[in-house]
Symmetry: C2
Subunit: 309 residues, 2 copies
């Protein structure tokens, strides 16, 4: 199984309103809810691709109950979330039906106390021992030490389990130093980590900081990857239009799937670009269009060079 | 005990954000939650005044669980909500810290099917038999017939229990025809019911349509009441500044408290105006400032005439 870690899980709520007017009262015409936080999104994509996934992190309160009820109804996902006292945060996305624009409200989430963090680390160590790969995803909730991901990367490496890290800022900087197998920063995260806005240069610099492989996600321009086996660029056949929410999570999911399937890097990158584009094309945020995915898979261009042995 | 009915209960959520910008992402700095819907607000005020209150209506899903958890933690409130399949609606109020303005999003709420409506009516009949007074408050959820309040008024009257009706539109029009003891429309609701924008005339017209007593709430201008015992106007000592949310619910609560305490009408109206003003003055929406309430109570001006016997 693949283990995904979401320390800052969320209940993602989407509201459709006719037109957003500040300081007015709005009748919500449609409400949708789903488990959120990057690791849960990655898990949902992996499960849809047919992989067995175990999810861990924290959940609490009635919002945590809502997240767990929905996970229980998703095939191939096993819930190993650790209970926490405060309620799981909500995110509310308000979609304006006239313009299609989204206004987002993100709650801060519950504080994780040191005892709860210790409980989690023990649970994580037990789960890692049974995992084929681990994904550490998203921001850290209040109370979790900023070096948290570095510790979780080291635990996975000590167990010989490959680990992907998808986070930002100081949590990424510290996590990279613990030598994760793959990181998947976007252009902004990469620039913040390395100080360079030039993707190819920044990607190499991120590897020097400790990541074995760096896959930079460049939105519609595809991916740039620097790995021990070589360096590649992967681009979609055409620019796709749609909702980019979740496209980055689909990249992480495809790379994990390719990793456990022992695919060569160029094939993993093709999958990642196709799945990401199929996610942008899907009507619902964070889901992918399976027909578009199969169609795109053979049409991704991967160029690059294999590192001399 | 006093029974309050809230067919369209809610989980009222308030978010504080630094400044609301459409189509941007916002970090919520503070989240507050409380049970909502007019009848639950009236119950909370009555309980704070020292009355035993039973609340009924519908609750479902994890949002319904959140409402019930909070009710269980409120002294003097007994939860007699009837379970429903869909989740209780949320309302989200986003407060802009820079301007103090509020932007509101209201979910539609779960559909109540005919079987569930029958279950509720049976439960209500049992509760009414043990009540000193009944308050029927707020809008009707999808699925509940528009004549619902008329039926609930008749059940209370058949049991000899006084009934206050606080709703709007067609539900109010039909409910009034069933002869409730008190209705508490605001100026807009009264105009919609009677076609007249002149409060004194509209109040009398509303009585002719079936209400035994009509107490029109005129915001900062106080109350106009036409009852079988006489007609009065009650005004606060000075214009109060603050958050008017919940002021109308405090009027209903004060009138119910005065009714079960068998106070003369002028005293009930003084309490209603003082409690309403103390609610506007309280920092949190829908709560009242007890010191301001006691202070205001002796300073409300009630003028009017007793009907000749």
């Amino acid at each position: 199984m693949i283990l995904t870690v979401t320390l800052n899980t969320a209940l993602d709520i989407t509201y459709r309103v006719r037109s957003l007017r500040p300081h007015a009262s709005h009748r919500v015409s449609e409400v949708t809810e789903r488990p959120g936080g990057k690791g849960l999104n990655v898990a949902r994509v992996l499960a849809a691709l047919g992989h067995e996934v175990t999810v861990t992190g924290f959940a609490g309160g009635t919002t945590g109950d809502a997240v767990r009820e929905r996970l229980a109804a998703t095939p191939r996902i096993t819930d190993a979330l650790v209970p926490v006292t405060g309620p799981t945060r909500r995110t509310v996305a308000v979609v304006d039906e006239l313009t299609g624009d989204t206004t987002q409200f993100n709650e801060p989430g519950p504080v994780v106390d040191p005892a709860r963090w210790s409980t989690f680390q023990e649970a994580y160590e037990g789960l890692v021992g049974r995992a084929d790969a681990v994904a550490l995803c998203g921001s850290l909730p209040p109370g979790v030490p900023v070096g948290a991901y570095a510790g979780l990367v080291r635990t996975a490496r000590a167990a010989g389990v490959p680990v992907l890290l998808d986070t930002a800022g100081e949590a990424l900087r510290r996590g990279v130093a613990a030598r994760p197998d793959v990181i998947t920063p976007n252009a902004d995260e990469l620039a913040e980590l390395t100080g360079s806005h030039e993707p190819s240069r920044a990607t190499q610099d991120a590897r020097r900081r400790g990541a074995r492989a760096v896959v930079a996600t460049l939105g519609p321009d595809g991916l740039v990857a620097v790995t021990p086996e070589g360096r590649w660029r992967a681009v979609p056949p055409a620019r796709v239009r749609g909702n980019p929410t979740g496209a980055g999570d689909s990249v992480a999911a495809a790379l994990l799937a390719g990793l456990v399937d022992r695919q060569p890097w160029p094939d993993r990158l093709s999958r990642a670009v196709a799945l990401s584009a199929a996610t942008v094309l899907a009507p619902a945020a964070g889901e992918f269009d399976p027909t578009a995915y199969r169609d795109l898979l053979g049409r991704v261009t991967v160029t690059g060079e294999v590192t001399a042995a």
